[in-house]
Symmetry: C2
Subunit: 488 residues, 2 copies
C-alpha cells in the first residue's frame, strides 16, 4: 500500500516490458550532452554564475539557430502560399508570386492545408526531376521515382524498413560507414537489423576504401545476410568529399556483391575544398553504362535542411529510387500513404529550392547573392576550423572538404581515460562534458558516431558566426591544453 492508501500497481509499459529494440536505439546528436546544455541555459537564465555567459550549440547542423538568415525568396514563396492575400501585396516580387500561384493551383482546394498525394505534390515531383536532370548533365529523371519526404531521415528509414527481413543468420545486414551519422545505427537498432561497420580511412582524409568494404562484407556474411550499403557523401560527421573514382568503385562493388545502395547526399552544395567536387551516385551510375545503370538498385536522398537553405524546421526532402522492382515500388507507395503526406509547407519550400529564380527573373540576383554569401561564409569557416585544429597540439584534423562539420581526433592522456572509465563514461564524452561545464561549448563526442577502438574524436559544426567561431576555437584549444595538463 502506498501512503495515500492506494494499492501500488505495476505499470503496463515498463523498461522490462517495452519494445526491446527501442531500448537499443542511441542518438548522440541529441543525447545527454545536449540535455545538459539545455539545463545550463536555464541556469544561466536564472542568473546562476558560470564560467561562461552563453551556451554555444555546435552539436547539430542547425544553421538558422546559429544565426544564418533564411534565403528571402524561399520564404517569400512560402509566405505567399501560406497567406494568399499577400498575392496582391506590391512588396513581393512578381516571380515569387507567379511560383506561389502555380504551387497553389497544384494544392487541393488551392490550400497548403490540404493533404497532398502521399509521395508529394505531382508538380513538385516533376520540378524535382527536372532539377536532378539539370544537376546530372541531362541524365533523365522520372517524377514517378521521386518521393518527397519529411526531411531526409524519414526517407532513409522508409527504405531501410523495406529492406529488413529474416531471422538469425538470414537477418538483413546493412553496411554503414564508421564514423556514421547516428540516424543509421538508430534506425537499424529499431528495426532489429544487423549493423555492419566499414571504417573510413582517417589517415587518408576519411576516404572510403573498397578493400575495407569487402573485409566488412565478408566477415558479416558469417552472421547475417548483407543486403544494403549506405554512403554519406559529403561525409557526416567526417566532412570528406568522395572522388568520382571512389564512387565508381563503390558502385562496381555494389553491383558485384548484389547490394542495394543508399546514397545520403544532403550536403551536395556544401563543398569547400579546392579540387573537390560533388558527383551524385545517380550520375556516376549512368555514366558507367547500361551494365550498371540497368542493374544497381539505388535510393538517393536530399533535404532542405542543409546546403545554403538550412531550413531544418520545415522537415522537407526527397528521395529518388532507381532500378527498384516495380512491385516493391508499389509497396513503397502504399507504405508512405499510411502517413498521408509529407508536410506541404516543406514541399513548397523544396519546390522554391529546385525551381529557383533564373537569370532575368526579378529575384535572381538577390537569391544568388544570398546563396553565395552563405556558401562562402561556410567555406571560410571550414578553412578556419581545419587550420586552427591543425596548428593546435593534441588535435589531428582532416581537411573539411564539405558538409558542415569538423571531426578532429584528440589526444587524451591515459589518466583522463582512466578517470572517464572510473565514471563509466566514454573518454571523449568525459572530455566533452568538462568542456561544456567550463566553457559552455556543446559538441558531440566521437563515440556517438563510432570510431576506431582507442581513438577519440568529437564532432563540431562550423556554423557559428565567424567571430564567435574564432572565440570558440580558441577556447577549445585552451581548454584542451588545460585538460592535458590536469591529467598528465
Amino acid at each position: 500500500m502506498a501512503e495515500n492508501g492506494l494499492v501500488q500497481r505495476d505499470k503496463v509499459l515498463t523498461l522490462e516490458s517495452m519494445n526491446p529494440w527501442i531500448k537499443k536505439v542511441e542518438y548522440a546528436v541529441r543525447g545527454p550532452i545536449v540535455k545538459r546544455a539545455v539545463e545550463l541555459e536555464k541556469e544561466l537564465q536564472k542568473g546562476v554564475k558560470k564560467p561562461f555567459t552563453e551556451v554555444i550549440r555546435a552539436n547539430i547542423g542547425d544553421a538558422h539557430a546559429m544565426g544564418q538568415k533564411p534565403i528571402t525568396f524561399l520564404r517569400q514563396v512560402s509566405a505567399l502560399c501560406m497567406y494568399p492575400e499577400l498575392l496582391d501585396d506590391p512588396n513581393f516580387p512578381e516571380d515569387a508570386k507567379q511560383k506561389a500561384r502555380r504551387l497553389l493551383d497544384a494544392c487541393g482546394g488551392h490550400s497548403v492545408g490540404a493533404y497532398s498525394a502521399s509521395p508529394g505534390i505531382e508538380l513538385i515531383r516533376q520540378d524535382v526531376a527536372s532539377f536532378i536532370e539539370h544537376r546530372d548533365g541531362g541524365i533523365p529523371s522520372n517524377p514517378d521515382n521521386i518521393f518527397l519526404s519529411t526531411g531526409a531521415s524519414d526517407a532513409i528509414v522508409t527504405i531501410l524498413k523495406l529492406l529488413v527481413s529474416g531471422e538469425g543468420r538470414s537477418r538483413t545486414g546493412v553496411l554503414i560507414p564508421i564514423p556514421q551519422y547516428p540516424l543509421y545505427s538508430a534506425a537499424l537498432a529499431e528495426l532489429n537489423a544487423v549493423q555492419i561497420n566499414y571504417y573510413l580511412d582517417e589517415e587518408n582524409c576519411w576516404a572510403l576504401n573498397v578493400g575495407e568494404l569487402r573485409r566488412a562484407l565478408h566477415e558479416a556474411r558469417k552472421r547475417c545476410h548483407p543486403r544494403a550499403l549506405c554512403i554519406i557523401n559529403p561525409g557526416n560527421p567526417t566532412g570528406q568529399v568522395q572522388s568520382r573514382k571512389c564512387i565508381e568503385d563503390v558502385i562496381h562493388f555494389a553491383w558485384e556483391e548484389q547490394l542495394f545502395l543508399l546514397a545520403d547526399e544532403v550536403y551536395q552544395d556544401n563543398i569547400y575544398a579546392e579540387g573537390s567536387q560533388f558527383h551524385s551516385f545517380k550520375k556516376v551510375l549512368f555514366e558507367m553504362g547500361p551494365k550498371y545503370s540497368g542493374a544497381v538498385e539505388l535510393a538517393s536522398f536530399h533535404s532542405i535542411s542543409k546546403c545554403f537553405m538550412g531550413e531544418c524546421g520545415f522537415r522537407g526532402g526527397y528521395m529518388e529510387v532507381i532500378n527498384m522492382d516495380p512491385a516493391v515500388q508499389e509497396q513503397l507507395t502504399k507504405l508512405v500513404s499510411v502517413r498521408l503526406c509529407p508536410p506541404v509547407t516543406g514541399q513548397i519550400l523544396l519546390d522554391a529550392v529546385v525551381n529557383r529564380p533564373q537569370p532575368g527573373d526579378p529575384s535572381y540576383e538577390r537569391f544568388n547573392q544570398e546563396k553565395q554569401a552563405v556558401l562562402s561564409a561556410l567555406a571560410e569557416k571550414a578553412r578556419l576550423t581545419e587550420e586552427t585544429f591543425r596548428q593546435a597540439p593534441g588535435f589531428h584534423c582532416n581537411p573539411v572538404q564539405g558538409a558542415m562539420y569538423a571531426f578532429p581526433r584528440i589526444h587524451l592522456p591515459p589518466r583522463a581515460v582512466k578517470a572517464a572509465q572510473a565514471q563509466g563514461q566514454a573518454p571523449d564524452m568525459f572530455f566533452c562534458r568538462q568542456l561544456l561545464e567550463e566553457t559552455g561549448i556543446c559538441i558531440v563526442p566521437g563515440s556517438g558516431f563510432g570510431q576506431k577502438e582507442g581513438t577519440y574524436h568529437f564532432r563540431m559544426t562550423i556554423l557559428p558566426p565567424l567571430e564567435k567561431l574564432q572565440i570558440l576555437l580558441q577556447k577549445m584549444c585552451q581548454f584542451h591544453v588545460k585538460f592535458i595538463q590536469e591529467y598528465s
Copy 2:
C-alpha cells in the same frame, strides 16, 4: 541474356525478399479506389468523355480540398513567422503580430527554419498544457507530458512502437474498434503486433459495449498478450460520440484488465448531435478519483487536421501521456529525438489554435465567426447526410453525432455479391468502384475499415460544399436503385 546483351540479374529487393510485415499493411483511405479516381481525373483533363464532369473525393477527411477556407488568424500568425518582414505590415492585426513575435522568440535564431526541441518547442508545449487544462475544467496538465507530433498518426505509431514486444503467444496484442480507422491495422501489421478486434454496436448507434470488449480480450488472451486498448472518440469512420458513462466503463475496464489506453480524440470539436458532448478521457479519468487517475496509463492524441481548422497539410498535432513510467518516458523522448523534430510550421499553427484570440483581442470576432461558420456548416451537412440515407431504401445510417463521416450500411443483392466474388473483390469495393466509374464519386468501401461478416458499408465524408453534397447524395441514392435493379 536480355535483348540488349546484358545479363538479367535478380533484384536485391523483391516482393519475396522484402519486409514481410510491410506487405501485410493495408490502407484503404488511399487505396486502389483513390488511385482509380486520380486516373479518372487525368482522363477528364485530357477530354475523355465520362458520364460525369468531375471526380468528387469524399474518401478522405480533407476539408480544404473540399473548399473549406482556412481560418484567417491561423494563417496570419503562420505567415508572420514565415516571413518576419510582415511584422511591419499594417494589414496584419496586432494580436497576430504579438503572437508571432512570441513564437519567433521561442525558435532557434528566431527562425522557423531551425530545428526545435524534439518533443516540440517548449513554449508551445506550455500553451498546449494550458489549453488542455482549460478544456478539462482545470485538471492540471504538465508540459513535460506533452509531445508535439507530425500529425496524430505519427504520435499514435510512436506509442504503439513502444508497446510492441514478445514472440508467439506473448506477442503484444492491441484492441481496436471495428470499424476502425485503418492507421491502426496498418501500424499493427507493420510492427507485427496482434490486432484484436472489438465490434462497435451498429444497432445501438455504434456504441462501445464493455461486454464486447471483454469478449474480445478474453478470446485474445489465448493467442497473445493484450496490452493496449485504442478508442476513437468521436468515432472514425462511424461518427458516434461516446457518453460519459461509456468512457467511465472503458476506463474501469482498462484499470481492471491492466491495459494501456490510447484515446484518439482528433475530432473533439466536431460534435453535431443534440445531447452529444465531448468528454476527454483525461478529464473523466481524473474525475473518477485517485484510484484510477494515479494508475491508468493513457496517451491521448489531437491534431490540427480536423475540427474547425482542417489544416491537414501542416502535419501538426500533439499527444499527452498520463501515468507513463518515467523510465519509459525517457525512452520515448529518446525515440522522438531520432527524427529531430516535428515540422515547426505545424507547431506554430498548433500554437495559434490552442492560444487563440480572446475576447477584446482584435482578431477575436473574426476568428470566432469563421470557426462557428465551419462548425455549423458541418453540423448541417451531417444532418442532411444522415436524413438522406435514412429515407433512402437500401441504406441504414446511424446519426452522424460527430467527426466528419457517415458510415451507412448498404443492401447489396446476392447476385451483386456473387459478381463481386467472381472478380475477387469485396462486395462493397465492387459497389464503390462502379459508383466511381458511373458518377465520379469517390468513397471508401466498409471492408477497408472492417465490418461484421456479411454486412456492407462505405465511408463518405460530409465535407463537400452543401450544394455539391446534395447532388452527391442524390446521385448515390439513384445509383444504388439502379445497382439493385441490375443485380436483382
